[in-house]
């Protein structure tokens, strides 16, 4: 498991895809790969109201990543210091094994370089004290980035706000 987490507040997400574009622009990607995806379900009626679900899907940086296990060259690897799963373009031979291995579609194909590309939690930005590109630009600030022990805090705060509204 990565020592970081990305948490999306679906209630606030408006599905604008600024995160998707920010991710692509930060990695300088061509048409095709989307290392972070937003999966849209709806709109559909939920009771009397129309609702849409937008689910933010970056790489989950698994505890035992199948992509890493499957990679024949060692290009896909998990950093021991923080659990971030990255792909080394120098070692990647473009065999797409990681793409087939991942159940979540996290590694993507870059047709320009002929190599795999994926969410690396913008580790260069994190190291410079910044937030990942997707979190930085989000217009509604529905994405949170932090360490796992911060999750309960964020959830507690959301719950308190929701209760305050009801009363």
């Amino acid at each position: 498991m990565s020592k970081f987490f990305l948490f999306q507040d679906q209630k606030k997400c408006i599905g604008c895809m600024a995160c998707v574009v920010a991710c692509k622009s930060r990695q300088g990607l061509p048409r095709g790969p989307h290392p972070c995806l937003v999966v849209t379900v709806g709109p559909q009626w939920v009771g009397e109201q129309p609702r849409t679900a937008f689910t933010f899907m970056p790489c989950f940086h698994c505890e035992n990543p199948w992509c890493v296990a499957a990679c024949p060259t060692g290009a896909m690897h998990q950093r021991s210091e923080d659990g971030i799963v990255t792909v080394d373009p120098d070692l990647c031979v473009g065999c797409k094994t990681c793409i087939s291995a991942c159940p979540w579609g996290a590694p993507q194909w870059n047709p320009e370089t002929g190599k795999a590309v994926k969410c690396d939690l913008c580790h260069d930005r994190i190291e410079a004290g910044l937030k990942p590109a997707c979190v930085t630009v989000c217009p509604t600030q529905c994405l949170y980035f932090g360490t796992p022990d911060e999750i309960p805090e964020v959830r507690r705060e959301r719950y308190a706000k929701a209760r305050a509204q009801e009363n």
Binding site: K12, I14, G15, C16, M17, A18, V20, V21, A22, K24, S25, R26, P30, R31, G32, G42, P43, Q44, W45, Q49, P50, R51, T52, K131, A133, T136, V137, C138, P139, T140, Q141, C142, K161, A164, Q165
Partner: protein
Amino acid sequence: MQEQVYSLCFMCSVRCPIKVTVDNGQVQFIQGNSHVPGIGDSICPRGVAGISLVNDTQRVQSPMIRSGPRGSGQWRQVSWHEAYDYIADKLKQITDAYGGRSVLLGERTQLSTHVSKTFLRAIGSPNHFTHDALCKGSLNTACRSLLGYTDGQIGMDYANTKHLVLYGRNIFESIQVKPVRQFSEAMEKGARLTYIDPRVTVTATKAHRYWMIRPGTDLALNYALMHVIINESLYDGDYVDKWVSGFDALCGFVKPYTPDWAEGETGIPAAEIVDFARELASQKPHVIFHCGYRCASHENEIYFRRSIFILNALMGSIETPGGMFFKKGPAEAGGKPVRKLTDQDLPKPSDIRFDKVGTPDFPTPDPNHGVAQMMPQAILNEDPYPLKALFAYRFDPLSSIPDTNYTRQALDALDLIVSIDINYSEIAWYSDVILPESTYLERMDSPQQANGPKPQIFLRQQAVSPRYDTRPGPVILQQLAERMGLGEYFPYTTMEELVDWQLAPTGFERADFKEKGFVAYTDQKLLWDRKTGIKFKTPSGKIELVSSLLEEAGYPSFPAYQSMSRPENGADFRLVVGRCAQHTHISTQNNLYLNELVPHNSLWINAARAEELGIKDNDTVEVASENASGRIQARVTEMIHPDCVFMLHGFGHEVPRAERSYQKGVSDSLLMRNVTDMIGGSPALHETIVSVRNAGEKP
């Protein structure tokens, strides 16, 4: 070497403050300017995608002169010198024969609009117009008729509102970053959202209350709301007594417009209308009926826009925290505004405008913006006089003025079409000369006088040097004016000189913008006292429900409501258009990143109606109006009213060099009728009836 440049976005017209990270002369990343309160690092997808605009190889890369017939795509790459010579010679022939008034200049409103106005005044033409009429002409007129201010001088306090009411104003898809961020925070704190639209949008899916209203009947809903508010005395009595004139006339007028009556018109249950009015009254005055943009867009739009302002007036929400407010200028803070070229002593054109705005024929729209969609008939009928040359400055009449074939016919009657553009837009492709402008990231621009509760000045600072042989628009116009012997009104040769000239009276300098991208006249919020100090600019100094602007022009303030017709033929629908979060009107469809997300438009059609017509999801359908037809993918859904079909505006591009967007989807402008709200000035964009049939079944 990495540096941060504070600038202003221009992927749409909003001009959000941005921070551009530049590394070795390349744009690395674009995000919001967090020095500006309420924005943080946020930016919308179009703003982030600015990086692929600047690096786009499918842009116009150097001046071009047409070498084949118009629209043939045969071009000669030329020097700036040759392009200026060509234009100046042609223009001289035209103005010698037909006078300066035969020249038109249309543009998308922008920071250097004062430069284009000056250019035209120097030629001796009154014919400057902007895209504003197409966007919000009737809104502007309604606002002036009631408050004495233009809509541009009104802001909304999203952060503190308790209830936001939106009529087709798709706030979460037509994104302005600051309002979106502020209002989503307000929603977390309990603000309510009511959304009214015949189609379910993302905004509808976030709303507490959504009404799928019958298309074109928003006005009926508003009259019924007024009826309930007055009948049950739910209005802000003190505010109305102090600031509203014509209240008695309104009371008499709305008597017959009961919620039961409105239910028949709109399809919204009467009891819900009553509940809604009561809920809003309990939250007044911290409520906003949002006055623009989009929504029911018909020939009587002016009265619908007025009804929104009237509801705000009844709630006492104009110049109130959590409501609307008037933007305060530098004078309110004891400062001096940014100077404009139009502040100079310029020749006054003696002719009326091409669109006759400001004459008894068309008295009420704002002559400062003009009415763009009158251009084709003015050219073709030579009414009021012959028009022979058009400058299209990042304004595309072929995709934005309804009825493209008619517009193209009019363009054919011109002797000269010059485009100042970044992309190969439809109009650039149809021009005689294209003058390529540098993108907003590659140029400094005129300072933005940003009025508001705290008046400020923003500066679009150059982030990177131009990728191609392009120049900033104000420099292009200055150089062209120079070549035509009209240089005396343009006291600059570079953008830096122009900015310095403009800033001179303010006491601020260019260097002051380096650190944050903007300067403020004051750190205090300027609000007028809503009990005693609101300065309405109407003749009566009040909110004029019975409007002197309209009545003096011979128009009634309260004409009887006329029901919107339902399409009667079984295959007929009202065409409704709108936006998505990933595109700006017609200008971003060819952007690498944005095109990938939304490559074409589809036709939303109600599931039950589609079944009757034998149309299934993803079928190709033919959609036809009286003007034209096109083939488009059907999106069969329960999320749209049975009376209408919907498509995104701005697709169906016909320029082969803009490869990504070439022939993707259908252009709504191609299908639409060119009809206008003759009191307000907006085109009636929802007045077109289309028939839809499955393209697989040949008749």
